[in-house]
């Protein structure tokens, strides 16, 4: 069964959405979302803008945060800490993949 895929949205680093969109999509509370912004896990496109917008790739981040919150019964601080560590792990994975590509090592 083939389906019309016109509603597909790529979660990329140039299209943007509002904080409300991210909260609705993820099921996080406003408080949890604000905490993730405060600790720098989620960064607005323009920090100085009155109404802040966020890149669509953060849909993945907020969904991960909600999943970790639900799957491990995390509180506000726990979610923020877990997401900070997840971001750090992602950065290290990228560095590792880059090094392996440069040196021609198998993953």
């Amino acid at each position: 069964m083939k389906m019309n895929a016109s509603e597909w949205v790529w979660l990329n680093n140039h299209d943007v959405c509002s904080a409300r969109n991210l909260i609705e999509v993820s099921g996080l509370s406003s408080e949890e979302f604000d905490e993730l912004v405060d600790v720098g896990v989620i960064e607005p496109v323009d920090e100085t803008a009155q109404v802040k917008s966020f890149h669509l790739r953060y849909v993945v981040t907020v969904n991960t945060a909600r999943r970790l919150r639900d799957d491990f019964d995390l509180d506000l601080n726990g979610v923020a800490l877990a997401m900070t560590l997840v971001r750090r792990i992602d950065e290290l994975h990228e560095e590792l993949a880059a090094t392996q590509a440069r040196l021609g090592l198998e993953m």
Binding site: M1, K2, A5, W8, V9, N12, F72, A98, R102
Partner: protein, 310 residues
């Protein structure tokens, strides 16, 4: 319908208390959760663990599950008569029904326990589904289309959820990146009690390439040179995703040098292309002819070069 042994999945006895269930779930979740586990099969294992936990942590769902009786995992079985009656035994086949979809459908229909809705009426969102799709580097370079197939529950006229393969054709934009996701809102599992349906996510993986290694938008490949090409310099043909190019190798090129070809890497959806890096590798023939050996010996005698003195 295939039986799933949720107790076996969590490694607990059927007599386990709710605390035992939670403890077993947490232990396994720490090990296999896709956001924290390095196990390549972690995601699949965690899905099974989460499905078992979702049923066993809820006393009423657990009772419904227990009422099915104890069986062997993977064993085909026919649901109890009252379940069949609810879905119209003659009109529906349970063959391709997933037990977790059925337990969820029971909950949303309010059929459980004599048609009284025992669960809280709070709207619950449907489950998000995700599927990985492997795409060639050539498609990432030029953009293109690919099909992705995922099994989603589809409800028959009696409300029985059947797992049915759905194929979606998706457009891969030029310059898509490893791990990038595509979201199709509302195509996940159905919500309950008025909750919105879940979403479907497609996760893009770049398939390993026979020549190129990818990091971000940059591409690396090994450029193999003969000793005389490296020493004397040469013009060599090199592959790029856009076709072959001629590259000047400077005299005195060593192994492991990175030669950068600007903007010959992967395109960006916005901004500059990545770069292509040729990583030099000097190889020598495994077998040398008499003449080659003589020439090497002459070179060794004439040269002041000391490789290990540098």
């Amino acid at each position: 319908m295939k039986y799933k042994d949720y107790y076996q999945t969590l490694g607990i006895e059927q007599t386990a208390t709710i605390d035992d269930v939670k403890k077993a779930y947490r232990k396994l979740a720490h090990k296999y959760h896709p956001d924290v586990s390095k196990d390549p099969k972690g995601e699949e294992k965690f899905k099974e663990i989460a499905e078992a936990y979702a049923t066993l942590k809820n006393a009423e769902k657990r009772q419904e599950y227990d009422d099915l009786g104890k069986r062997t995992a993977g064993e085909s079985f026919t649901p109890p008569p009252e379940w069949q009656q609810h879905y119209g035994a003659s009109g529906s086949s349970f063959e391709d029904v997933d037990i977790s979809d059925l337990l969820n459908a029971f909950r949303s229909s309010g059929f459980a326990n004599g048609s009284t809705r025992r669960y809280a009426n709070r709207p619950l969102p449907g489950v998000d589904y995700s599927v990985k799709v492997s795409v060639s580097l050539e498609i990432i370079f030029s953009g293109g289309e690919t099909d992705v197939t995922v099994e989603l529950p589809k409800y028959d006229k009696n409300g029985l959820p059947h797992r049915t393969p759905h194929t979606f054709r998706i457009t891969i934009p030029k310059g898509a990146t490893e791990g990038q996701r595509l979201r199709l809102a509302g195509k996940g599992g159905p919500g309950t009690d008025g909750g919105k349906p879940g979403d479907l996510y497609v996760i893009l993986n770049i398939a390993p390439h026979r020549l190129f290694r990818v990091t971000g938008r940059d591409l690396f490949f090994d450029l193999v040179l003969a000793p005389w090409e490296a020493a004397l310099g040469a013009k060599v043909e090199i592959p790029t995703l856009g076709g072959t190019l001629e590259l000047d190798i400077k005299p005195g090129t060593s192994s492991g040098q990175r030669l950068r070809l600007p903007k010959r890497g992967l395109p960006a959806q916005q901004g500059d292309h990545g770069n292509l890096y040729a990583v030099t590798q000097i190889v020598v023939p495994k077998v040398t002819s008499v003449r080659e050996r003589e020439l090497y010996e002459q070179l060794a005698a004439a040269s002041d070069f000391k490789a290990r003195a540098q």
